[in-house]
Amino acid sequence: MTTTLKSPAPVLETAPTQAGDAATRPLTVALAGNPNAGKTSLFNALTGLRQKVANYPGVTVERKDGHWQLAPDLPDAQLIDLPGLYSLDANSIDEQIARDVITGRLTSVPKPDCIIAVVDATNLERNLYLATQLLETGRPLVVALTMIDLAERHKLEIDAARLSDALGVPVVPVVAKLRQGLDALAAAVLRAAESAPPVAGWRLSAEAERELEALAALDAPVNGDGITPTVAATTDAATTDVATDASARRYGALVELYAEELPEEAGHQAAVASARARLAEGNPRWWQEPLLARYNWIEGVARRTVRDHKPGRTRRTDRIDRFVTHRFFGPLILFALMLLILQTIFSWAQLPMDVIDGGFGRLGELVRATLAPGLLTDLLVDGVIAGVGGVLVFLPQILLLFFFISLLEDSGYMARAAFLMDRLMRGVGLHGKAFMPLLSSFACAIPGIMATRTIENPKDRLATILIAPFMSCSARLPVYTLMIAAFFSRQEKLLGVLSVGVVIIMAMYLLGIVVAVAVAWVLKHTILKSPPPPLVLELPPYRMPNPVNVLQTIRSRSWMFVRRAGTVILAISILLWALVTFPRVNAATGDADGGAAAATANATGSAPDERATTAGRDETVQPAAGASNVAEAVDGDAGEQIRQSYAGRLGHLIEPAIAPLGFDWKMGIGLVASFAARETLVSTLSIVYNVGEDATEESNSLIEAVRNARRADGSPAWTPLVAVSMMVFFVLACQCMSTIAIVRRETNSWRWPLFMVSYMLLLAYVASFITYQGGRLLGFS
């Protein structure tokens, strides 16, 4: 049966080969359901931790796969978690991908042997809508009825057996949290994958059915190879079942006839257009017919299977919403929640951060004590350990932020936030749905930008993508935290509770939001002008967040971050270390071993010229450079080393440009490096400043190093004003390779990412300039 790997099991052969067939090949099962229907909980319960998250090729629709042990003696099934959907009509990329997976059009995913429709028992009618469309595809289908415990509490009685009869497919009640019904679901899937596909139980008007038949006949096997466009990738099976093929053709015709656009295939365009014209003649709302037919049928099914339906009851959700979406308390609660989350992130994360910081410090000392002094040891300690440690130290904050975001999402609050914010968002030309991606961007712009695909209008989506990086992401937190710890931690608390640091961070978050709003308004009134898009948003019932889902989200998100810290940032750390270490200065320190001396000798050939030019540049840039020797004496040879290094030269090169912002050339090094990823500013500064310290001494924390850093004239390099100017720059500049990469992929061109980087850099420069120069005029230092 090797040929059937990607095809449905031929119906006519199933009975005798059932056991053998299932045993020889792993099944592929797809999980489809409305958002908030309990799909993720079910997926987690079925696969445990054996899942992986990736993207479908070419698009950023998240692809979640897992292994599901259907039965002890069978190979694990591949379980595909489709994105949450309300319909298969391909209004969004999510729906398009889901439909392509189900019909087997995606070559990267095996055509599912069975679809599981996750149906929320407390919201049966709307959830069944997707199920009716899944039935139409003619693929083997099993319904997993979730939330039955909640339904019982709501005095809703659903007769699963009757529902199964009405739908013509197995219906298995499940409670994912308690692992109830999972075995029955597995058994139902095994049976369904091997039996005849279901048939949709409703028909359209006689006229519409005639048109469908005619369209389906266009691709009947007689007039070609029997391949309809929608099932092109699936008909590789030698034994194409006649009934399956006919139902696939009818489904293809249904999709083509009622799609928004005309089909791409030229041969079908004319036929579909004329069929539509004929139908429109008889009924101007002809295109509503399938929607009405499906709901009409659903209502009949619901009448037969649901008892004690009390639509007017006051739910717990209504009572909560009385406050949460109240015209006055609602926004207040939203703001308080944001403030609480930020304050918590900063206070709770402190202890684990200290532990990680101390751990990496001790590791560095240990390595330095164990290995012979030299370049390799320096690389390990100053490049690898300091660089990675400097990033991982922020893991606790990121964990906490994702913890809160997944709580808000899982509980149903996120949709309320969109409801509250939509009018404001529309004021600047955006969609309430943009609120969720933008809120996610406070954790990281990458998942945020990926989440914009729920916005159907491409111009709205683009506008949201272009402003998402203004939301202060977790990668800025290291920068803010460092600046605040160094300059604002000792100040009194405002009103006795709020630390100055939190207020400043709040201000940075607000700055990002305000600029985002302004930019969005400009974009939506100029290059991305379009009428306001519709908002059709479910406000799901509040639910206790499922701990497994929350943990799973935190796990996958923070793993993404750690992987990045472990690869990109490690590479950047090593590169930076090399940039500040080479070329070696010939008057180098006594600790240089043979290898270093050799490297130094190689480098000396060109060093004198470079030094001369560098010194010359110094004098032109800094009038006070005459006094610089004092400061250099303090820094000693290491200061000379970094001045001579490639990084130092780069820093000097851009110093004239950044001096009006209050930054010196060492910060310039940090700025250049942070264009790869913002958090590298911290590791860069630790490398830049640690090099200037006595390596054997108990290493000062970075905070002390920043406080003690001096300019060439001996004045402090950093002041509170410089710190604020730096933070402002980091709020507004697009310093993140990954963001640029993801925007390139989402917009499918280099135009938009380049546009984004340039305008954000310009804004950052101007704002930082105003901050620093304005601050000086006002008498701040």
């Binding site: 919201n123 709307r126 929607l291 009405l292 709901y295 306001p532 059709v536």
Partner: protein, 105 residues
């Protein structure tokens, strides 16, 4: 039946005019007073919007009820088929409804 939120949110309703409009045959959802049970007559918007609304269960014949409006008066929260849906007033305007008194099923 009345929404529990009447006392808190009814100030948002464009006043008596809306109530008057609600009593007439064939009003639209955006002018329906909060807490009034109604039934959808037709969904008249352009096809992409109407399609989305209908997929979400807002089809002719479906009972609907406006629960409340967001703090700035827009969007509105509507109960349909036992769940809650947020819509902008511009979308709600495309949905023609009749109130419970006029069409007892």
């Amino acid at each position: 039946m009345g929404s529990p939120d009447n006392n808190l949110t009814d100030m948002n309703v464009p006043g008596a005019r809306a109530a008057e409009a609600g009593r007439r045959m064939g009003t639209t959802l955006n002018t329906l007073p909060h807490g009034t049970e109604a039934r959808v007559v037709s969904v008249d918007g352009e096809s992409a919007v109407a399609r989305r609304l209908m997929e979400m269960g807002v089809v002719p014949g479906a009972p609907v009820c406006v629960i409340k409006a967001a703090p700035l008066g827009d969007p509105i929260e509507v109960r349909v088929r036992g769940y809650h849906l947020a819509l902008r007033r511009t979308e709600a305007q495309t949905i023609r409804v009749v109130t419970g008194d006029e069409v007892k099923p």
